[in-house]
């Protein structure tokens, strides 16, 4: 049962990250995932200080607020003419630094383990359970991430059309009256939600990995957006299952192992993807050459 809960948590994180990550990749703002996952730290600490406990809702609100602040700051820096890489770096390092200072300043009030925030401890997930009317409903983290997954799924289903056209051709989207900025912030909001729902169990770094790596793998395997979304989820789930068993085998950090598997799957796609793999392309070239010579 313990195995099951851990794998389920990892799979839910990978699932929800996987398909919203696809849009980050297609919009060429992949590094925003990294930026947001760092920038929500002050939001979490402030929510902590105000509410006084580790309640999920205040932390969620704090994270969304700071995720959006981060996006807005990056956007406004870019509008004043700062180049994009600088805008991202300056913003998230600053917000993260503020977060750390808050943690050290209020270290007595804040029972927040920084190591845990950044790397998570998915191994503890099964022990922190919810009980309602005396029945054990399963780990808290599973419910949290499950809710985030459902939320993202509903949002993407509802706004699929808008997300797609604003990713492909924002100018045309704006011309036909789609609120491009609002859709952008919706996406960033979803990323903040997923990040905060996952970081406690899997940590900020796995969130970044799961946002981008499965999506990039899927991007190499298909030419359809809808298929890409499904494949990204699948790759994420597979990485979390295999990653868990690798971690058991090595007696090492579970989230890290899931990342490694995701990375390996990416390398496989990079080399052997039927259409875009470099080895596949070489092989096809060689065969064409051979058939020309004969």
């Amino acid at each position: 049962m313990v195995d099951f809960w851990i794998i389920l948590t990892g799979a839910l994180v990978a699932g929800s990250c996987g398909f919203i990550g696809c849009f980050l990749i297609l919009r060429r703002v992949a590094m925003l995932g990294d930026a947001i996952s760092h920038a929500i730290l002050p939001g979490i600490v402030i929510a902590f200080l105000i509410s006084g406990d580790r309640g999920t809702l205040p932390m969620l609100i704090g994270a969304i607020v700071f995720g959006l602040i981060c996006t807005v700051l990056i956007q406004s820096l870019r509008q004043t003419g700062v180049q994009v890489d600088a805008a991202i770096s300056v913003t998230f390092t600053t917000l993260f630094a503020i977060g750390i200072i808050l943690v050290t300043l209020f270290t007595r009030q804040v029972d927040l383990d920084l190591d845990c925030v950044l790397f998570g401890e998915i191994a503890y997930v099964p022990w922190d359970t919810i009980t309602l009317f005396g029945t054990d409903l399963g780990p808290k983290a599973v419910w949290g991430i499950g809710a985030a997954f459902l939320f993202c799924l509903i949002m993407v289903t509802l706004f699929y059309k808008q997300l797609k056209i604003t990713s492909f051709d924002p100018a045309m989207a704006a011309a036909i009256g789609i609120p491009v900025a609002a859709i952008h912030y919706l996406l960033m909001g979803m990323i903040s939600v997923t990040t905060v729902a996952s970081f406690e169990s899997v940590g900020a770094i796995l969130v970044v990995a799961m946002l981008i790596v499965p999506g990039a793998t899927a991007y190499l395997l298909t030419d359809r957006l809808s298929v890409m979304l499904g494949l990204a989820t699948l790759v994420g789930v597979v990485s979390s299952i295999l990653g868990y068993y690798l971690a058991v085998l090595l007696d090492a950090n579970i989230a890290g192992c899931m990342t490694i598997i995701a990375g390996l799957l990416f390398v496989m796609a990079f080399l052997f993807s039927p259409k875009h793999g470099i080895l596949t392309r070489k092989w096809i070239q060689r065969r064409v050459k051979a058939s020309l010579q004969s």
Binding site: Q162, S167, D169, A171, A174, I176, Y219, L225, V227
Partner: protein, 253 residues
């Protein structure tokens, strides 16, 4: 002040980027049912003009009316073909899907494109001679084919006024002919088409009227009247040389 007969009337439109004004005090009424060329040198603000009309760029001053009403109210009457380079052609989607995006404006917020929309999109692809490529991944299309897909998407918008940004850049001769043919058909149906264009050789052949632009409106009117050597010289300044004893125009630099 505003001319409710004209499909597009622009009043005192100025656009400024960070440092300097790019367009100054443009006043223009587009004649209905014509193919209109927007002509001017690089950096004259041709694309800027279109984008400002469509509300994609903030205007420093001025107003734009589509059939006498604001652009927001009349959005459904307008089709837009951006420059081909403005999008990522590696996007995981096929040609028909791109054309279907033309229907999104009509569909509203939550409705999905249905079988009818697909049929309509397919017929648009047919018009530009691309029906065989409907399921082709868009990165595997040539530049000319990509431009045709964009044109088909604009047709799918089923608009009354079309704005096209440099549709002839980097396309083969066959595509250029096909595009012009489609545009002429649109015109024959009474639609108004504004095209950003920079090849002076073909202006007289393609367009009914022109709008000569260099930061400000230099001249506008029917091609015969406005597309004169003198106006061109005003528009292009020293960058235009006119060979003596011939009507041929040459662009230097």
């Amino acid at each position: 002040m505003k001319n409710s007969e004209s499909p597009v009337s622009i009043r005192n439109l100025s656009v400024a980027y960070h440092r300097k004004p790019v367009l100054r005090e443009i006043d223009y009424d587009a004649p209905e049912g014509e193919l209109i060329g927007i002509i001017g040198p690089n950096g004259a603000g041709k694309s800027t003009l279109i984008k400002a009309v469509l509300g994609l760029l903030p205007r420093a001053s001025g107003d734009v009316y589509i059939y006498g009403k604001s652009y927001r109210e009349q959005r459904h009457l307008v089709g837009y073909v951006p420059q081909r380079e403005s999008v990522d052609w590696d996007f995981p989607t096929h040609a028909l899907d791109v054309v279907l995006m033309g229907r999104y404006g009509k569909l509203g917020w939550f409705k999905r494109p249905g079988a009818k929309d697909r049929e309509f999109a397919m017929s648009c692809l047919q018009k530009v001679g691309m029906e065989a490529f409907a399921m082709r991944q868009i990165s595997q299309l040539s530049g000319g084919q990509q431009q045709r897909v964009f044109l088909a998407r604009a047709l799918a918008q089923d608009a009354h006024i079309y704005f096209m940004d440099e549709p002839f850049v980097g396309v083969d001769a066959a595509t250029e002919k096909a595009i012009i043919q489609v545009l002429t058909e649109l015109k024959d149906k009474g639609k108004t088409v504004l095209v950003v264009h920079h090849d002076l050789q073909t202006v007289q052949e393609y367009f009914d009227s022109v709008l000569l632009l260099n930061m400000r409106l230099i001249a506008s009117g029917s091609t015969k009247e406005a597309f004169t050597t003198e106006n061109l010289q005003k528009t292009y300044g020293g960058r235009l040389t006119i060979l003596p004893d011939s009507q041929e125009l040459l662009l230097t630099r």
